[in-house]
């Protein structure tokens, strides 16, 4: 099906150590999926994999007609060098480079789009401010404005509400609902479980291994959360090679 993202036995990680281990599932077009789990569960790693920033250690991601470049991605704020001398308007304008490329001109139509995005996130009057003068909430609004300008059908959000006040969360959540109404696919890493229960119909609960993927009320049951918390964070220094794939292959042969 066009626009759906299928994960087949996906393993992502660093240095042979899996951070997301043997994940199966499908993200339907227009889905609104929360990814929850304890710290170190592989949530951000999964998003990086979906965005094409990290090659899988095993398995694959099938994007069915989407290129990884067609996916908008909101990184955690720390990944941006905010000391760089650039103002709010110019930073948001980089979102237009998806269409203009690195060398094209940003024409009147793009400028109108940028202006509209700034108004939508409530940053009028901030156009000339340098990034380093913004508060955490204002910076998050800037990143959302850039996603508006990018205008992609799949949107990945990595901890969009970390250290953000309630008013800003409400504004940004309204924006996410609007995206959903427009039929875009949204995958968000979130820690605020109450908010997930309120706003996200589907949830993937991750603790390196997938614990549950389905309706949010089922996924965030007490047993599932307890299972996720029991995840061992430390590496097993004696870890052997994972043979699960080979086992599966042998079984398949036997059949």
């Amino acid at each position: 099906m066009a626009g759906c993202i299928r994960l087949e036995n996906l393993t992502l990680g660093y240095d042979r150590r899996p951070a997301v281990h043997h994940l199966h599932g499908t993200i339907e077009p227009g889905a609104m999926l929360a990814v929850c789990g304890p710290n170190g569960a592989g949530k951000s790693t999964l998003l990086k994999g979906l965005a094409g920033l990290l090659a899988p250690l095993g398995g694959r991601i099938e994007r069915n007609g989407l290129s990884s470049r067609d996916i908008a991605y909101l990184p955690q704020i720390v990944e941006i060098d905010r000391a760089f001398p650039v103002d709010v308007h110019d930073f948001i304008a980089t979102g237009a480079m998806r269409r203009t490329g690195l060398f094209g001109t940003i024409d009147r139509c793009e400028l109108a789009r940028i202006e509209a995005a700034i108004a939508t996130v409530g940053l009028e009057g901030f156009e000339d401010r340098q990034l380093c003068t913004l508060s955490g909430g204002q910076m998050q609004r800037v990143l959302f404005a850039r996603i508006l300008v990018e205008d992609q059908s799949v949107i990945l959000l990595d901890e969009p509400f970390g250290a953000i006040d309630a008013a800003t969360i409400d504004d940004l959540l309204a924006l996410i609902s609007r995206w959903r109404g427009e039929g875009r696919t949204i995958v968000a890493v979130l820690h605020e479980l109450d908010l997930v229960r309120k706003a996200f119909p589907q949830t993937l609960l991750l603790a390196r291994e997938p614990i549950f993927w389905g309706e949010t009320c089922d996924a965030l049951s007490r047993e599932h959360i307890a299972a996720a918390r029991a995840m061992v964070e430390a590496f097993d220094r004696e870890a052997q090679e994972c043979l699960r794939d080979e086992g599966a292959a042998e079984n398949a042969h036997a059949l």
């Binding site: 965005a51 990884s68 470049r69 991605y73 990944e79 760089f84 001398p85 930073f91 480079m97 060398f103």
Partner: protein, 289 residues
Amino acid sequence: MLYESLVAPFVDYEFMRRALIGSLALAISGSPLGVFLILRRMSLAGDALSHAILPGAALGYLAAGLSLPAMTFGGLIAGLVVAVASGAAARWTALREDASLAAFYLVSLALGVAIVSVRGSNVDLLHVLFGSVLALDDATLILLAGITSFTLLALAVSYRALALDTLDPTFLRRISPLGEAVPFAFLVLLVLNLVAGFHALGTLMAVGVIMLPAAAARLWTADLTSALPLAAAIGVGSSYAGLVVSFRLGLPTGPAIILAAGAVYIVSLAFGRAGGLARLRRPRRHLRG
């Protein structure tokens, strides 16, 4: 009197005119490059790379004597090898970039000095280490001007990519297949300018005309579009002032140029409006909102 000091040396002596053209070419492309070097937090990497050019230039010298093409080519190759090798070492080994660059450049510097001494005299070694801005021939001038023109064109074309690669590298990689190539292209430009600087100012001073004007410019403005021309202007001014001073006082030219740039830097440290010390001394009353 003013004419005597400021203009006459260049009217009367051809070697001074050549030195002026050569050092202006260096400053015009090197200083804006330095602005990016500072933004990318690579100031020390620039210094390390300038030493890394030495063994290549020395090998060229060993093969062909003080020959322009041989030493240029050797320097380019050595600079690129060290840039790529230390980048790779930082990525795939336990060492971070600063440590691996320091390791590579120390080895390069020692290797270079050893190679030059095998065949050459101390005079040759001095030439390699400190350059010879007063003895630039036609071919070298054309090389310097060529590198300057190429660098300015490349900076103009890749301005957005370079800025974005510093500001938000993952975003650049997501929107453009060229993203991965940007850091490497920047290193190529840097090595080209260091090789140009090597001919005029020598391997020890080459990075001075890249770094000092850029650092000074940053103290006057936080805006990138004005920092780039300002850095170039400071570089041009220091080159000219250095040449005049060295002519009047009989100082060695390379160090005089770097000292002039250093003086501008010290003054900027004190009085720079966008980060100098003066800004701390007289705090103005805070605003209403």
